[in-house]
Amino acid sequence: MRKQYLLWLALLLLPIAVFADPVTSWIFDPATPVAGEVRDTFHIMLGLTLPFLLLPQILLVYAIWKFNEKRGHKPATFHDNLKLEIIWTVIPVLTLIAISIPAYSTLKKIEVPPKSDLVVEVIGHQFFWEYRLPKYDVGFANEPLVVPADKIITLNLTSVDVIHSWWVPSFGVKQDANPGRITHAWFKAPAGKYKGQCAELCGPLHGEMWIDVQVVSDSEFETWLESKQNGANVAPNEDGTHSAMIAPAAESEAANG
């Protein structure tokens, strides 16, 4: 019996050794204040629920050892204990309330963005993301989103076909993009490159709908903007059928044709 437990433990530890090259996540590398709060909420919850996770396992193992029939004792006959039952109803309720309080304050932070510095429209397509910066009249698709560092970036998300979900773990942001309506999210991140992907099954190539965000300094952002505004803002149409863009270039095209 003991051998089996040892085997179990060894097998459990193996993949942690295999898991050498970690990705950026909200739990180890939170880049935004919100992601940090989500991590804290998680830790509080982890601390509060861990006893409930471990206690039954410990009691189970202890009972298996202690009350094994090999010990040759008579079974007890009790099958009720009101006090005990009240205790194991009330304590979990109190724990849940304790978990809820930080959860709700974090939810409020996620939901109520501070005054926005830059609005980015995020538009989901099968199977790529389109971004527009209405403030600068710039739109592009299928390439990294570039935003200035340490600014409040608000995202207005929508979709032109099926439901997608914009997920960048280290920002603590995951928000569905629904066709026909807009939803919102926000982040404020230091300079760096961040990865994410679509999180709502949106068709065969769902797994390839990656997200790349480059958060850059103000000056780099200016340079990038200039290069974008110099005519490079027509959405690359995969097969020529998608004309969802309404960049100014499309307008003039319409006027000419």
């Binding site: 527009r132 207005n156 032109v160 309506r181």
Partner: protein, 197 residues
């Protein structure tokens, strides 16, 4: 309690009664409940501001409070229409009507039919945003290559949360096929479709 030796005729009657008069109706009610959800959901959405009634009475007021309105739009699927607001951002006074213009171009050589669906952010502003004139009250048809200009007149209620400094009004154009368009003509489309929750 319930005595039974074999399944007596009385027992059988009792079973049938329970199934016929209680359980089957429960099933049918739940099935119907699904369909009742459709109008209920629309009502609920209207209540919390995911859809707005364009014909409601609007009270104008002087508030002196300014708010930014951002006009955005996307075209769903492969509908070959371009559209854009004349001013993509406006600064308006809360309580006073304001207007903007949208220009539509049909880029194709076919007649197109579509339904514009609007959506407003943030939620606190959604119930306070009233349109008195909008192309989204009706389904639209455009001839090949046609260009059209629509006026949009809206107002933000004076009692809107003063925390709200920026409101986004988004339109999505969904293509319709012509037969369905005819079918739905009789029913006035009261902008009840901007989604819900």
């Amino acid at each position: 309690m319930d005595s039974q030796e074999l399944k007596t005729p009385e027992q059988k009657r009792k079973n049938k009664k329970l199934a016929l008069y209680l359980l089957i109706p429960v099933m049918l009610i739940m099935f119907g409940f699904t369909y009742v959800q459709v109008p209920l959901f629309k009502m609920f959405c209207q209540k919390i501001g995911f859809a707005i009634s364009p014909l409601s009475d609007v009270e104008y007021a002087d508030t002196g409070r300014m708010c930014k309105v951002l006009y955005t739009g996307v075209v769903a699927g492969t509908l070959p229409v371009h559209f854009k607001a004349k001013q993509s951002v406006q600064t308006v006074e809360v309580g006073k009507p304001f207007e903007n213009e949208y220009r539509f171009v049909n880029m194709s050589k076919d007649t197109v039919h579509f339904r514009p669906v609007h959506s407003i952010l943030p939620e606190a502003a959604a119930t306070k945003f009233t349109m008195t004139k909008c192309f989204c009250f009706d389904d639209q048809t455009m001839a090949p290559g046609e260009e059209k200009t629509f006026k949009v007149i809206s107002v933000l209620s004076a009692d809107m949360d003063s925390q709200v400094e920026q409101v986004t009004l988004n339109y999505t154009l969904f293509e319709k096929n012509p037969e369905e368009m005819e079918k739905n003509r009789q029913v006035p489309n009261v902008a009840q479709n901007s989604g819900g929750n």
